[in-house]
Subunit: 363 residues, 2 copies
């Protein structure tokens, strides 16, 4: 810790590996294909830790990310983002050497892609099961039918099944709320499978965000899960009820550059370019950008009295805490900050340092 000089994103490899192993066991227990989302870590090296647990397929959020992981031997990749026909060339190139799974949310993008290039890929139809971001309306059979008709006209593509992302689980604040969202997701998806499997034997259901995969135990009829955030977890997942603070596998280490006891504030080097700017409302109703932990050797510990990052500018963070806590902080200290949203913080930082002092590169 003494060697750290600037904002540094630390990960505890043991906690990361434990998070991976727990989800691998859960998928196995429910006989699910485990296709973890790699957008959270964006690291070939961390992806290898999954491979050591027997994971052979993955999910990514962009064509570039798919190419990056294909470059380290991943041969079965789902790009869980609506296919972008402007990327036809790179999709075609990628599909020539890996088993590529693409997501169709409408017939237009599919037509624009397939008329440009003979892309050999499995196509999943994304279903909107309540998040209302992307996906076809499950009650609108004509939308599904138009996609299926298009697929039938192009021999290089096949219909893989239905895929959903119940991202509204991120608004949940209890296990019961997560369960309710998951149950509805499952109900819609199972009905679709029942409706279409006579015509398309072998179609599958792909589901599973971090909250539902962490909390729920009913996956009957589901074929694969795609959680991503669980590899690190974060304060949002604690607030949702997906994990404990102890399961959070990453922490930002930030140098203290000023202490203002009369304002009960500490200024750190650590701003919007490091954390990104997702915020969370704590149990006292205060919006914040991270929670302080004490860095002790290779560990971090929640202090008895909570302190939070209440504001971020480009490079500055303003941390506020109780007077006793502020009084003990000195200029030159390093503070640990648990991030609100691990995925965006990792993306902003671009690399990790393990608590055993190994640098881990990202895409």
């Amino acid at each position: 810790m003494d060697a750290l000089v600037r904002p540094t994103l630390l990960i505890n490899e043991s906690t990361v590996r434990a998070n991976i192993a727990r989800m691998v066991r859960k998928a196995a227990r429910h006989q699910l294909t485990f296709r973890p989302h790699f957008k959270t870590h964006q690291s070939q090296q961390i992806a290898r830790w999954y491979r050591e647990e027997g994971v052979t397929c993955c999910t990514v959020s962009s064509v570039q990310m798919a190419s990056y992981f294909a470059g380290d031997g991943w041969q079965d990749i789902t790009i869980a983002f609506p296919l972008n026909p402007r990327e036809a060339d790179s999709i075609h190139q990628l599909a020539s050497h890996v088993h590529l799974n693409l997501v169709a949310v409408n017939v237009e993008a599919l037509e624009l892609l397939l008329t440009q290039r003979q892309v050999a890929a499995s196509i999943w139809i994304e279903v909107d099961t309540g998040y209302h971001r992307t996906g076809v309306d499950p009650d609108h059979a004509a939308s599904i039918e138009s996609i299926l008709q298009t697929l039938a006209r192009y021999p290089h593509v096949s219909f893989a099944g239905f895929l959903s992302h119940a991202g509204h689980s991120y608004k949940a604040r209890s296990a019961a709320a997560i369960q309710s969202i998951h149950d509805e997701d499952l109900r819609i998806m199972k009905k679709l499978k029942a409706d279409y499997q006579a015509r398309y034997p072998g179609i599958k259901l792909s589901m599973g965000d971090t909250p539902s995969c962490s909390v729920c135990e009913n996956f009957e009829g589901v074929d694969e899960i795609r959680p991503g955030n669980f590899v690190f977890y974060d304060l949002t997942q604690v607030a949702i009820g997906s994990c404990t603070h102890e399961q959070i596998a990453l922490v930002m280490a930030c140098p203290v550059v000023a202490v203002y006891p009369h304002r009960q504030e500490v200024i750190i080097h650590g701003g919007g370019v490091h954390f990104s700017k997702d915020s969370l409302v704590n149990t006292q109703g205060v919006t914040h950008f991270g929670r302080v932990v004490a860095l002790q050797g290779n560990e971090w510990l929640l202090p008895p009295q909570p302190a939070f990052v209440r504001s971020l500018s480009q490079e500055h963070g303003i941390v506020t805490g109780p007077p006793d806590w502020v009084a003990a902080i000195k200029v030159g200290d390093m503070l640990g900050i648990l991030p609100v949203h691990a995925c965006l913080t990792a993306d902003a930082m671009g690399e990790f340092l393990t608590t055993t002092n190994s640098r881990i590169a990202m895409m």
Copy 2:
């Protein structure tokens, strides 16, 4: 525009150069040293456009950024962030070959730095003129005195003067509000100069954020200004009253991947990893993450009816607009989005493309 396939941060070089030239002229008119903040663009190439206008010194927000610009010949650099004694080695190394200006906000960091290394640098005392982020209380002479006493004990450092950043101008929503913040900043700073200049002849005042430098015309007693954002401007600066939409020099080009007319929504590839997540409240009271413009050739135009990015996830953006506008958007189109905060968007993207098709690298 047809060649763009994924989220791309476009800049209009003519607008950037016009923004630079306008501020150069303003500084000259008021006989101010112009020390622009380079954290907004973080690009050696764009820094050269300043040099072509006669600018010879700059401001940065980190030691790493100072090293990056020193690497392209910048010889007089202010690191406008409270000095971090953990970076003593890199500060010392940098100070050995450029004229380095450091910012002291307390005596502790200064002592920790100077007891470690004989850093040859000019030291500015940052004054809190109302933003309440960092800086000494101007009414607390003992804080200033303790810093001056420390400087007197180390012969390699000199006292350069007082520096402020009236960042609370970003909360202003009118020229009058900006003017009022600037007037108070100026009043405090001029009093400090008057109080200390007999003892320290030649001390200077460094001030000037983008709103005050764009709007105000009274800089009597000020020696240098350090605005940064004006090089690109953004929607926040339009809301503050610093600029017009036409002066915004950058736009994100994002592919449309889905259109939902019944929801009045368009889904773009363009999310939190591209825009970062600063938001703004529009004149209808709606929080948003960017405003749509029509991309036409190498230009962009505000459409008659406004459309906004109402939500961002990691890679998805949800754009909402009036029914007529949504009805005209097709999958495969590229939308232009004016960013809420140019600095964070540029940092997230990591490179620019000019509208004349040149790639511009960033740090």
